[in-house]
């Protein structure tokens, strides 16, 4: 398929999503769709947002292609990268039509998801326990604070030595970063809970175990989900770093490999893909959070 047709289709998809969201908003404010659309398109914040995008692309094109500034002139321009990405017959072997492209995406997504899920399953209970039990806090917090500042990449050699093979090692360093973010945000969430809620629950007959499930967990929920969003982002950045050092597939590997092979447009394709996937994963975490915290949604926006 012609890349221009794909580009057109992509553009239409973006417009359709935008239009659908405006329709939802129009229903919320009880005004007509056309009215809402006009309001958005002429709003200052929308124009500024679009302006930001346009400025970014224009500066890129100017520095790289038009003025060809020293050092910048080796880089590919935005248009060139876009066409390579959408080309059925890419010059460097990576585009949305090639199987390799998806192999890299699947590897990275699999690693990031595994690490994120493990970090959530272990980090949330860890944070809750630290907030709930003074004893456990004293026992674990100094240790956590000592280990946490060690940058994830410093763990790579040890991880490779301890764990069987590169694959678990990359997942491990990714997990580690996400784990600390999740655990500490959960702890912060528990500490943010107003003492009155604990007192009220105890007055009403709750024992320590019920406090954990009825006050600590729901009370920390907003912070937990903020933490999960950050942990998702942190997982991606340490994953890519790990993949650059010790992996055979994945977007980090792809970016580094393309650098070695002087296939510069592929670097940009890899980076842009990371941007899109990262955005989608954060949005997914956010929407799960919204579902779980209906009370907060309604508090903020009304029923």
């Amino acid at each position: 398929m012609n890349p221009y047709i794909v580009l057109g289709l992509l553009l239409m998809a973006v417009l359709a999503v935008g239009a659908w969201q405006q329709k939802k908003k129009a229903r919320l404010y009880e005004i007509s769709w056309g009215h809402q659309l006009r309001k958005t398109l002429t709003s200052r914040s929308f124009l500024l947002q679009m302006g930001g995008f346009v400025a970014f692309v224009v500066i890129w094109e100017l520095t790289v292609k038009v003025f060809s500034l020293p050092w910048f002139n080796r880089l590919p321009g935005p248009w060139e990268c876009l066409l390579e990405w959408l080309s059925p017959d890419p010059a460097y072997g990576i585009s949305i039509y090639t199987e390799d492209y998806y192999t890299h995406i699947i590897y990275s997504t699999y690693r990031a998801t595994t690490a994120f899920v493990l970090a959530t399953l272990l980090g949330v209970p860890m944070g809750l326990l630290m907030g709930w039990s003074r004893k456990f806090y004293d026992y674990s917090f100094p240790l956590v604070e000592l280990i946490r500042p060690i940058p994830p990449l410093a763990w790579v050699p040890l991880a490779i030595l301890i764990l069987p093979g590169d694959e678990p090692a990359v997942i491990f360093v990714t997990f580690l970063v996400a784990f600390f973010v999740t655990a500490l945000n959960t702890l912060l969430g528990v500490e943010s809970i107003d003492e009155s809620f604990f007192r009220a629950a105890r007055c009403l007959g709750a024992d320590k175990r019920r406090l954990l499930f009825d006050v600590v967990l729901p009370g920390a929920m907003p912070f937990i989900f903020t933490g999960l969003q950050i942990s998702m982002g942190a997982a991606w950045f340490s994953l890519v770093a790990g993949e650059m050092i010790a992996a055979q597939y994945g977007l980090g590997f792809l970016i580094w490999d393309s650098y070695s092979l002087i296939q510069y447009p592929v670097i940009v394709i890899g980076m842009a893909t990371l941007g899109v996937i990262g955005w989608i994963s954060s949005a997914a975490v956010r929407s799960v959070g919204r579902k779980l915290m209906a009370w907060r949604e309604r508090e903020l926006y009304g029923s």
């Binding site: 629950a201 007055c203 508090e299």
Partner: protein, 287 residues
């Protein structure tokens, strides 16, 4: 020196539970360090079904007294009896319970639970009622105070007046012996406040629970209570006891009666003295 026992019986005397006897209670925070004496030899008697209001300058230990009764805080001397049984002593670990439920200054409805889940929380968590029975009972109680359409709402969607009303129902569903109210109407505007007084009085007249009410609003104290106690500045004890002999149900017209104003004048004087002392003590601490 500082005990002011009630000599006359309260105007509304109800047989039943909830008589409280607070005997020479003392509370010292951080005895080895800063040594803050919050309560010293604080004694008072509360009859079953009596509505008692405690007033005093801020920081005088009103809330400390409430916390020791509620079981959030231990005491360092004296004892508190509830219906003749020791509730809090020096040796006993403080322990809150559904026989004396607190309604908090800033409200403590769980924002993550609906109104109905909030109200049924006590009976369900204690295993006192099945969830079904608790729901039925809660609906009954809510509709009696005109709150039947908000069961599925979250507290954040309600006005502050409604929130506080739900919180009082959440306390009453446990059939407590004593209701402990810690400046529950403090942050309200005048209109909401007077409406809140009205429904609290209605609930009090209907249930006959003993009420321990902390406030710094003197008019509120006289208008609601059978007995108003003035607390001294730290270390806190009961300095003055004022019997309020206004008939129940209370009417707003009473607020302008001569009797009411005379009582208010007495309280203003007593509290003012303490406020000045507290202010001077504060000055000394600053210097």
């Amino acid at each position: 020196m500082n005990t002011a026992e009630a000599t006359t019986p309260p105007p509304v005397c109800r047989a039943g539970e909830g008589a409280m006897s607070i005997r020479k209670v003392g509370k010292i925070y951080d005895p080895e360090g800063v040594h803050v004496v919050a309560l010293n030899d604080c004694s008072l008697e509360i009859a079953a079904g009596e509505f008692v209001a405690i007033v005093g300058p801020s920081g005088c230990g009103k809330s400390t007294l409430l916390n020791t009764i509620a079981g959030f805080d231990g005491l360092t001397s004296g004892e508190i009896l509830l219906d003749g049984e020791p509730l809090a002593t020096v040796d006993k670990d403080p322990r809150p319970g559904p026989d004396r439920v607190v309604v908090f200054q800033h409200g403590a409805l769980f924002p993550w639970k609906t109104v109905l889940q909030n109200v049924t929380y006590g009976p369900v968590v204690q295993g006192a009622m099945s969830e079904e029975d608790a729901n039925k009972r809660a609906q009954e109680m809510l509709s009696r105070v005109g709150l039947n359409d908000i069961e599925t709402a979250y507290p954040g969607q309600l006005s502050s007046g409604m929130q506080r009303r739900v919180e009082i129902i959440r306390a009453l569903i446990n059939n407590p012996k004593v209701l402990l109210l810690d400046e529950p109407f403090r942050a309200m505007d005048t209109v909401t406040k007077s409406a809140s007084h009205q429904y609290l009085l209605e609930l009090y007249d209907a249930t006959g629970k003993t009420i321990f009410f902390i406030t710094h609003d003197l008019e509120e104290a006289i208008f609601l209570a059978d007995k108003v106690l003035v607390m001294t500045t730290r270390p806190g004890y009961i300095k003055k006891t004022l019997q309020v002999n206004l008939p129940r149900p209370r009417q707003y017209s009473m607020l302008a009666s001569e009797e009411f104003l005379a009582m208010k004048a007495q309280l203003v004087e007593a509290v003012h003295e303490e406020a000045v002392k507290a202010f001077e003590a504060g000055e000394r601490e600053m210097a």
